[in-house]
């Protein structure tokens, strides 16, 4: 039997596997449409949130305990990380803090470290969970990515209005050079730029933020799935009852190598996408905080 005949069925199975299903009914037909259903993505998203919270609470408690102990005994270990895990987490928090102060500024940056840190650690952990067979990445469902981008959108719009006032924030969408032009140019060019900037700030930003995360993860999962399907279809005696043939073993072996390589690449993408999401949120907040300066 030609293994390629089985491929469309495999792809269908793969798409079904990646769709949003009730967590206790993996064989449900089609994705969930009604609201308030506990789906597989929601369950794994909650798992990744709980793990992040548990890690941070545990490490923070250990650090506090060590600090108290060091202050009592007068030893100089007060500022050292409490163990190997705490060292890693401290490096991560420092990474986020440096990002916030670099992008948003020395004065306003530290206020947003908790938000950016939650985004980064939650997304990176949930992306890694999505790479474990059976696990689901929160951003791998479009709704999940939209929810994350929505939080980011609410924050930067709120900060923009709170820091500059409703009129000031909307006015800052037009560059100051255009605002100082003669009247006809100010209305014509200014109106045009305002429209462009309005769409790109309030509509395109959240759209690209969510689509970037979703598309990268979904495409990655599909690529891994297709290579895995090729391996299981072409290796003799696994699924297609192909029997021994040099071509089958060759294609299977090449697919296996590519599967492993792509898996490594997806580990990198999982980190990069969390980083890009976080740094873009920081950039958007920065443009809201300093809106009146440009």
């Amino acid at each position: 039997m030609n293994p390629l005949d089985l491929l469309p069925g495999k792809i269908e199975e793969l798409v079904h596997e990646l769709s949003v299903l009730p967590y206790n009914d993996m064989h449900a037909t089609g994705p969930v449409t009604e609201p308030f259903v506990l789906t597989n993505y929601v369950v794994w998203g909650i798992v990744s949130l709980v793990v992040v919270i548990a890690l941070f609470v545990a490490v923070a408690n250990r650090e506090k305990k060590q600090m108290r102990l060091a202050l009592e005994t007068g030893e100089a270990t007060a500022l050292a990380p409490a163990g190997r895990l705490a060292g890693v987490m401290e490096a991560g928090v420092e990474f986020i803090r440096d990002m916030a102060t670099d992008v948003i500024g020395e004065k306003d940056g530290p206020k947003y470290v908790p938000l950016l840190g939650t985004f980064f650690f939650m997304i990176v952990l949930s992306n890694f969970i999505g790479l474990i067979p059976g696990g689901k990445a929160w951003g791998g469902a479009f709704g999940g990515a939209v929810a994350l981008a929505g939080i980011s959108w609410i924050v930067f719009v709120f900060v923009g209005f709170a820091k500059n006032g409703a009129f000031g924030y909307l006015r800052s969408l037009v560059p100051s050079g255009v605002r100082e032009m003669a009247l006809p140019a100010r209305i014509g060019l200014g109106g045009f730029i305002f429209l462009l900037e309005f769409v790109s700030t309030f509509l395109v930003r959240p759209l690209t933020l969510s689509v970037r995360l979703f598309a990268n993860l979904y495409a990655g999962h599909v690529i891994l799935g297709v290579f895995a399907a090729f391996v299981s279809l072409f290796f003799p005696f696994v699924e297609s009852q192909l029997g021994w043939s040099a071509g089958g073993v060759g294609v299977g072996a090449v697919s296996l190598v590519f599967l492993v390589l792509m898996y490594a690449f997806e580990l990198f993408v999982a980190f990069i996408q969390a980083y890009v999401f976080t740094i873009l949120t920081a950039v958007y907040i920065q443009s809201s905080v300093h809106a009146s300066e440009h």
Binding site: L207, T208, V211, R212, V283
Partner: protein
């Protein structure tokens, strides 16, 4: 006769979907190449600025990539 027209239209719409994303990816592809290459050049000239250049590079890539992502969304809307 009518059935074949419907089939042809479905086929054409699939071609359109492919073209929408394919064409939308050309510009950003070139753009990201330029961003990455220039960032590499800058980092080679001034290795001590590598961290800051990398941050800016990712931001620039994200903005360039937005155009390709709009094409990606358009593919599903057609």
């Amino acid at each position: 006769m009518e059935g074949s027209i419907v089939e042809a239209l479905a086929g054409l719409s699939s071609i359109g979907k492919g073209l929408a994303y394919g064409l939308a990816a050309i510009g950003p592809g070139i753009g990201i190449g330029i961003v990455g290459g220039k960032a590499l050049e800058a980092m080679a000239r001034q290795p001590e600025m590598a961290g800051q250049i990398q941050t800016t590079m990712f931001i620039a890539i994200a903005f360039t990539e937005a155009l390709a992502l709009l094409g990606f969304v358009l593919t599903f809307l057609i």
